[in-house]
């Protein structure tokens, strides 16, 4: 079995531009009004001026435990041995939508034909493509770079074998991933606290960008893990 591929996302580098959604659509020749395989959601909270907003880009995470595959009645969904990519065989799909119920990320989409389609890590082009293809190769070995990754303006999304993604992640994010954050389905960087400088006037050194300081914050964050992680 080959090494599992996965996604990495850094909300700190995501500028919320939706280039990933559009490039995915164009790569796979999908209509503008079709549901997105990769979505960008803008989360916000607070009242002006105490307002915050964070963009989050998501697609199918090619979960190691693929809940969608487990529930698919006709075995149309395959969690591939060779690279962990989760593909769909639309010649078997009955369009029951059960995978969408089971998927924690709302990744499966359905077109007018009612058949499931979703991100295939750009293993092919178009709905249902990639199924039955040889193992995913890294771009340096001639494989196609996922279009969304290739066009992420903020370089906020990455895709690759798990070990590589862990290596690329910050210490905190990698450690959280190890500890089962997000069910170890995806690596997400914690939001760097770019706290207003003036709120801590005497100790401005406290406001360091914690992306560079993963080690010091790890312990503290891990104790929070149970509370805020879900899915």
């Amino acid at each position: 079995m080959g090494e599992q591929w996965m996604f990495y996302f850094d909300p700190n580098r995501c500028i919320g531009c939706h280039a990933c959604s559009i490039s995915c659509k164009q790569r796979h020749d999908r209509d503008p009004d079709a549901e997105d395989w990769r979505t960008v959601t803008h989360l916000s909270q607070g009242e002006y001026p105490d307002f915050e907003e964070v963009p989050v880009s998501m697609s199918c995470m090619h979960c190691h435990d693929a809940p969608c595959e487990k529930v698919c009645p006709p075995n149309a969904i395959e969690k591939r041995e060779e690279d962990g990519i989760v593909t769909v065989n639309r010649d078997r799909c009955i369009g029951c939508h059960y995978c969408a119920w089971a998927c924690p990320y709302g990744a499966p989409t359905y077109g007018d034909d009612g058949l499931m389609s979703k991100c295939n890590m750009c293993l092919g082009e178009g709905a249902g493509s990639g199924h039955g293809q040889p193992a995913k190769q890294k771009p340096e070995d001639g494989g196609a770079k996922p279009s969304c990754v290739d066009n992420c303006v903020g370089e906020a999304i990455k895709a690759g074998p798990v070990s590589e993604m862990k290596a690329e992640a910050s210490g905190v994010a990698a450690e959280r991933f190890e500890n089962g954050a997000y069910e170890s389905r995806v690596i997400v960087e914690p939001i760097a606290e770019r706290a207003p400088l003036h709120e801590d006037t005497d100790e401005s050194s406290d406001t360091v960008d914690n992306r560079d300081e993963p080690a010091t914050k790890t312990e503290q964050s891990d104790t929070q893990t149970a509370g805020w992680l879900n899915g």
Partner: protein
């Protein structure tokens, strides 16, 4: 400039292509470098046997490198070019395309484009062939010249990939009337301040990667960027520990990433800047050596800011005095590796020249000019003048003709006539007065830019309108000749439009591409259109180049790369240029120094003197000074209590591309309104303003001003302050995307009296109109 040097700095792309040299050599139109070989891991579908070609994105005209896959004449995939100076974070870095750049693929095959020349016959536009259209245009141009004089014809060419329009309309046809986007509708106030003070238009782009401190002052760097090198560069800086401060009334995507967001009262930037200057001077944090040796007017500036305390500014800006003090200190301490990026936020209001002057003064104060991490004096490639290369003796038929603004006494009421030749908002009046009778519009729609109702009437009155465009709208439908232009991916282009600022902060560079696909339908590149007009006018001898590529070849005479070579590599990195260039050449101002005071600039001084007489409340002088909002332009009042302002979205370039489906769909999805039938822009308003008026997201609302009203869908959000409502421009009547509201339909010609810049802060009221 030299190939050897360039060879050393040329990075990944170049060496990559050298390896696969054979394939490159064989590359012709559309290229023939297979994207994928047989060893691929993928389902070979449309991309399977596609060829690779390059482009330089022209969606927002900032030229990020594009790599397209072409299958049987159709573009089937599009992506960025790694290491591209505009589209990547620098050497060896991932090249990408923003949503607009990606959408050029859709535009290439958009069936709604104009694909045939049209001419007006018996009052109606009808299809014509090219020769007929050229002949027709020439006949009409000659008639206009004979009857009224060529000086009544306005050259309103915008985003051309060639400078030929200046030659054709200025040198040959002989009109002095020229309106440019950047100067008159973009950031006129700040443009003027920058030029006169000595930082030029460089004040928009910081030397991001080297900066420790970046102030995005009324700049939305993560949404409205001039090439993706900007957001990428800022992200790099943040990763390296730089601080980002955002001065903006709205919580923008840039504010999302900021260490400090200063939610300033609109139009009070001058107060903030003066107070920062006060702190920096008072605490002796300024660059004494630089100020002493390289600036002009400092003593008067010091006096001016003496009483502008943070407390004083706090009352005007709504910001905490402590914050103002702290930002000032941090900025000065980080300098010279501290830069202010400023563009339209402090460039598009009635007091914007004065406000921006106060901001730019800070650059002179801390000496961050053309020093690493501060403002950068970018340098473009050393292009040659093709006319000189070919020894063509060009006449200058516009010489000696005075633009109407300066010629006729009707315009003496406009102080800006001493600083500029024309103003966007005043053109309808000039049309009415018979001083402008015709216009050449290229990639430009004045109906989006300001004073729209007056402009609609002016279009009716003009005798001759020639447009080079791609879509139907009220401009093109009003034209007498419509020339359909090929898009950038359909033509050979050498990027000569401000090809300076980029992720390569120390190198010049040049970028070019050959047509990736055939022009759609019967369209032609702008170069060919101008050449066609010129030939029909009998000026063929002056334009001997058979194509844009040949013209470009001559532009490269002084650079050791041929057009073909640059196009094959998409971009080439040229020689290095150092910092502190003013040490060699001085500042390009009247005094040769950075100028706090502009009394040596004659035109400016005269403008101020005239304006001073018109406004008794404020004692105007030529230095940085506080001009309260409403001194010129609108102020919200009882009847129109809201500030109405228009914005940009990362999905659209100006008013040009709103018709494309992919970006528009994502724009709607971002607002959660994709399921609505409505396809226009959204009026963003704060919950407090919305509640007061019983408005909810998705309601149709009417924006009313003294001038008139428009209808738009509401989007209620806390990202905008109470009292400040905004809508994306480029929609509604007059635009190609007619759904939604043209924000300028309620504009009454408000103008910055010093620079002629369109003032976009309008007093308005909003009410629910029913609907969904």
């Amino acid at each position: 400039m030299s190939k050897n040097e360039a060879g050393e700095v040329a990075l990944s792309r170049r060496s990559l292509l050298k390896v696969s040299g054979a394939a490159v050599g064989a590359m012709s139109l559309g290229g023939c470098l297979g994207v994928l070989d047989d060893e691929t891991d993928r389902d070979l579908d449309r991309l399977g046997d596609a060829d690779v070609a390059y482009g330089n994105c022209w969606m927002c005209h900032h030229a990020c490198g594009q790599e397209v896959a072409v299958n049987d004449g159709t573009i089937v995939d599009i992506t960025g070019v790694d290491g591209h100076p505009r589209g990547s974070a620098g050497p060896g870095r991932e090249g990408t395309l923003c949503p607009k750049g990606l959408a050029e693929m859709e535009k290439a095959h958009d069936p709604d484009r104009i694909t045939q020349p049209y001419i007006r016959e018996d009052g109606e536009l009808r299809q014509a062939d090219w020769d007929e259209a050229f002949e027709y245009a020439a006949t009409r141009l000659k008639a206009l010249d004979e009857q009224y004089g060529a000086e009544t014809f306005l050259n309103a060419a915008s985003w051309a990939t060639t400078n030929l329009h200046g030659i054709v309309w200025g040198n040959l046809y002989g009109t002095p009337e020229r309106i440019g986007r950047g100067r008159h509708v973009c950031f006129g106030g700040a443009h003027l301040s920058g030029n006169l003070m000595g930082v030029g238009t460089h004040m928009r782009f910081v030397d991001y990667q080297n900066a420790d401190y970046i102030i995005a002052w009324g700049r939305n760097l993560f949404e409205s960027f001039a090439g993706q090198w900007e957001p990428k560069g800022v992200l790099e800086a943040l990763d390296n520990g730089a601080k980002l401060v955002v001065v903006d009334p709205q919580h923008t995507p840039t504010a999302q990433k900021a260490d400090e967001w200063l939610p300033i009262e609109p139009r009070t930037d001058g107060a903030l800047a003066l107070a920062m200057g006060h702190v920096i001077v008072e605490e002796n944090l300024y660059d004494e050596a630089f100020v002493e040796e390289w600036t002009y007017g400092f003593e008067r500036y010091r006096e001016e800011v003496a009483d502008k305390t943070p407390e004083w500014a706090s009352e005007r800006t709504g910001l905490e005095p402590g914050v103002i003090r702290q930002i000032a200190v941090e900025f000065a301490e980080a300098a010279p590796a501290a830069g202010i990026a400023l563009w339209t936020g402090v460039g598009q209001y009635a007091e914007s020249q004065k406000a921006s002057q106060a901001v730019f003064a800070l650059n002179g104060l801390v000496g961050n000019i053309d020093r690493p991490g501060g403002l950068r004096f970018w340098r473009g490639p050393p292009f040659s003048n093709p006319f000189e290369v070919r020894d063509i003796d060009l006449p200058n038929n516009a010489a000696g003709k005075t633009p109407a603004l300066r010629k006729y006494e009707e315009y003496e009421k406009y102080p800006f006539r001493h600083t500029t030749g024309i103003g966007h908002n005043q053109i309808p009046e000039m049309v009415e007065n018979g001083h402008i009778r015709g216009m050449y519009c290229h990639y430009d729609n004045p109906l989006t830019d300001g004073n729209t109702q007056a402009w609609l009437e002016a279009l009716e009155e003009m005798e001759l309108i020639i447009t080079v465009d791609a879509y139907w709208n009220e401009l093109t439908r009003h034209a007498d000749v419509v020339f359909p232009e090929a898009i950038q991916l359909e033509k050979d282009t050498l990027i000569d439009y401000a090809p300076a600022w980029s992720a390569y902060h120390e190198n010049r560079w040049v970028s070019a591409s050959k047509a990736a696909v055939e022009p759609q339908g019967n369209t032609k590149p702008g170069f060919d259109i101008l050449k066609g007009i010129a030939e029909a006018m009998g000026w063929g001898e002056y334009i001997p180049w058979e194509s844009e590529a040949a013209y470009n070849e001559d532009m490269l005479a002084n650079i050791d790369y041929s057009f073909e070579e640059v196009a094959q590599e998409n971009y080439v990195i040229l020689d290095e240029f150092g910092y502190e260039q003013w040490k060699d050449s001085g500042f390009s101002t009247a005094t040769g120094r950075f100028q706090f005071y502009l009394d040596e600039e004659g035109g400016y001084r005269r403008s101020i003197e005239e304006l001073d007489e018109q406004v008794p409340d404020v004692d105007l002088h030529t230095g940085p000074q506080w001009v309260p909002p409403g001194t010129f332009g609108d102020t919200p009042d009882g009847e129109y209590p809201l500030h109405f302002y228009d914005t940009r979205a990362v999905f659209f370039a100006f008013g040009a591309d709103q018709v494309l489906d992919h970006p528009r769909e994502q724009y709607a999805r971002k607002h959660g309104l994709a399921s609505e039938e409505y396809e226009g822009n959204y009026l963003v308003m704060n919950t407090a303003d919305a509640d007061e008026r019983g408005i909810e997201t998705g309601d149709m609302v009417t924006v009313a001003t003294e001038k008139g009203d428009g209808e738009v869908m509401a989007y209620v959000s806390e990202r905008t302050p109470p009292g400040f409502v905004t809508a994306e421009f480029g929609f509604g009547q007059g635009n190609s995307k007619e759904d939604g509201m043209n924000t300028m339909i309620v504009h009454d010609g408000q103008t910055d009296p010093i620079s002629s810049q369109v003032d976009r802060h309008i007093a308005a009221e909003v009410r629910k109109t029913g609907g969904d």
